[in-house]
């Protein structure tokens, strides 16, 4: 803003020359936030906070908010240990969003998406992401990005008005594009800074720093298995250059204390939500990605009936060549375990039905209804059995 005005005085040709020479993205970096900080309402930062306070009020009311007290306390405690002196300034909201992400608003509102809880394999991985978000908060990245965007827009407007007057209107839009690109270039620097802060915070809190790079490596593997083009992915649109970041984090982690993953504690806390998290993931119908994710979740080779069942579900729904056999194998693996979900029988029945094996289909459906007599879909499953007598 001040930059724009100062250049304006010199005339538009001067600001065109200055801007093209690369002075535009030189945004002034705000100082790190101090604990308990509240901005003055008359400032740009105050305006942004007020808007975010309204968003937070909406979030509190949202039907997608996960309200379980125990889970909230667990995640809040992790965020608090990482945030240190900023603990009371950070408010955690767990939202039922089946994608990998967490967000941090400038006013201290942190959202943790359930897709992240499904993907994190241990507490250290969750802490890596939360620490990264706290890094954005402490360094006031939103404010910096906002000011940069505003000031870049200022320059672009000065340029386009000067050029429009000179009769070369179309160049104006090129300049606006370049201004837009500079906003994204800037945020990559911020991501790196947030990575550094996050790594330090998690290591200081006793977590294994190597898990930070593991998070990104898992994401890269998952994205590579996706049928969707990468640029349409919600996460990759805002977090580019993963490979480089994973490598940097791995190198830096090697210089820090080994730390702990706290995997057991994490799994125990997530246990009662896991079914919902899996269901939400399967509902996305992103087969390639889900299969890769489930493969990674089962990497430790521990028997996991639920994981086998949901892997079967993805194969059954994808229904590509050979998927029926794979689905059947997964359902049968689940059924062989003591804690098999009854739905595995239903899946098996549907696969047999599709394959024309009515006797086995009926057998599986009957078993499903026996194990879950009050299943919501009991009427239709019963009709599958009854139609054929």
């Amino acid at each position: 803003m001040t930059l724009g005005r100062r250049h304006f005085v010199g005339g538009c040709s001067a600001c065109a020359a200055l801007a093209l020479a690369g002075c535009v993205t030189d945004g002034v970096k705000p100082a790190p936030i101090s604990p308990g900080y509240k901005p003055n309402a008359a400032t740009d930062e105050g305006g942004i906070w007020q808007v975010m306070d309204n968003v937070e009020a909406e979030t509190k009311r949202s039907r997608f908010l996960v309200r379980d007290a125990e889970l909230n306390a667990y995640v809040r405690d992790i965020a608090c240990r990482l945030a240190g002196n900023h603990c009371s300034d950070v408010r955690v909201y767990i939202t039922r969003t089946p994608a990998f992400n967490a967000t941090m608003a400038p006013n201290g509102m942190m959202t943790v998406w359930t897709g992240l809880l499904l993907r994190a394999q241990n507490e250290a991985q969750l802490a890596a992401v939360l620490g990264h978000e706290i890094g954005h908060y402490v360094n006031r990245h939103s404010l910096q990005a906002y000011r940069n965007a505003r000031d870049t827009a200022d320059i672009a407007a000065f340029l386009s008005i000067g050029l429009a007057g000179a009769g070369v209107g179309f160049v104006g839009s090129m300049v606006q594009l370049a201004a837009l690109a500079s906003i994204f270039a800037f945020s990559r620097d911020q991501e790196r800074e947030a990575d550094d802060v996050g790594l330090k915070l998690m290591s200081d809190a006793g977590y294994q720093p190597l898990q930070a790079s593991k998070v990104w490596e898992q994401l890269i593997a998952e994205a590579a298995a996706s049928e969707r083009p990468r640029e349409r992915d919600v996460f990759f649109a805002t977090h580019p250059a993963q490979e480089e970041r994973a490598a940097t984090l791995r190198t830096k982690a090697a210089t820090l204390p080994a730390g702990d993953t706290y995997e057991k504690r994490y799994r125990a806390q997530l246990k009662k939500f896991r079914t919902t998290l899996f269901e939400d993931e399967v509902r996305l119908r992103q087969y390639g990605q889900s299969l890769k994710l489930f493969e990674m979740l089962g990497r430790d080779g521990q028997p996991d009936a639920e994981l086998a069942y949901f892997t079967g579900e993805v194969y059954r729904q994808r229904n590509a060549d050979g998927d029926d056999a794979k689905a059947r194998e997964q359902y049968e693996r689940a059924i062989a375990m003591a804690d098999a979900p009854p739905e595995a029988y239903r899946g098996l029945g549907l696969i047999h039905m599709r394959g024309g094996d009515q006797v086995r289909a009926d057998e599986a459906f009957r078993q499903y209804l026996k194990l879950k007599p009050d299943a919501e879909d009991r009427a239709i499953i019963r009709s599958y059995v009854q139609i054929r007598g």
Binding site: M1, G4, R5, F8, C12, A41, A42, D44, G46, G47, I48, W49, Q50, V51, R61, R63, A149, R150, D151, T152, A153, D154, I155, A156, A157, F158, I161, A164, G165
Partner: protein, 233 residues
Amino acid sequence: MRRAFLFVVLGALALGACATQSHQQIAALKRTEVQQPRILLMPLNVQLSEISAGGAMEPKADWTSAAHQHIVSALRAENAKRSVHMVEFAEDRAPPARRDDLVQLNKLHGVVGQSIMMHQYADQLALPTKQGKFDWSLGPSTRALKEVYDADYALFVFVRDSYASAGRAAMIFVGAILGVHVPGGAQIGFASLVDLESGNVVWFNRLARAAGDLRTEQAANETVQLLIADLPK
């Protein structure tokens, strides 16, 4: 995206015409000898911003908070003058299980209002199914508000008020010299009255002008007067 489009369209179509223009389905409020009409004032949807030189809208917290206070007190005074009882929306007044529904009704009111502002006022954007009729409705689910607040009507106020920064003012000046039009600040919004029994939008007034100021009490009072001048009595 849609909202941005709305403002561009309104800015282009409306600023030349008169500042307000209303539509109504009723001539007067329901009123008996013994009882004043009761109007529920929904949470204000008001945001004040400063336009940077480049046209970025910068939200202003202090201006917005001041505008909220000025608008509510002006509405309170005006309704008292008209012998209308005004009730203010307070989320915790409803039992917890119903709160979300009432908030959703508030949002619906806002969305319908923005649709009216867009489609009822410009011939180019008129909906073919409406054929010029003013018959918008939120539907009878608004009775939930009637029950909780014991009100006959709900009034919804939406305003986006922007002011040119020093840099923007300079842009406008230079633009004028170069023959390029640079838009400055504007006051765009609406007031909408819903009958809580039927859910019908019984009165609607749109405000669109490059004047007015919600930051100070007196000027905000002028805006409120303009917004609800022909609100049925």
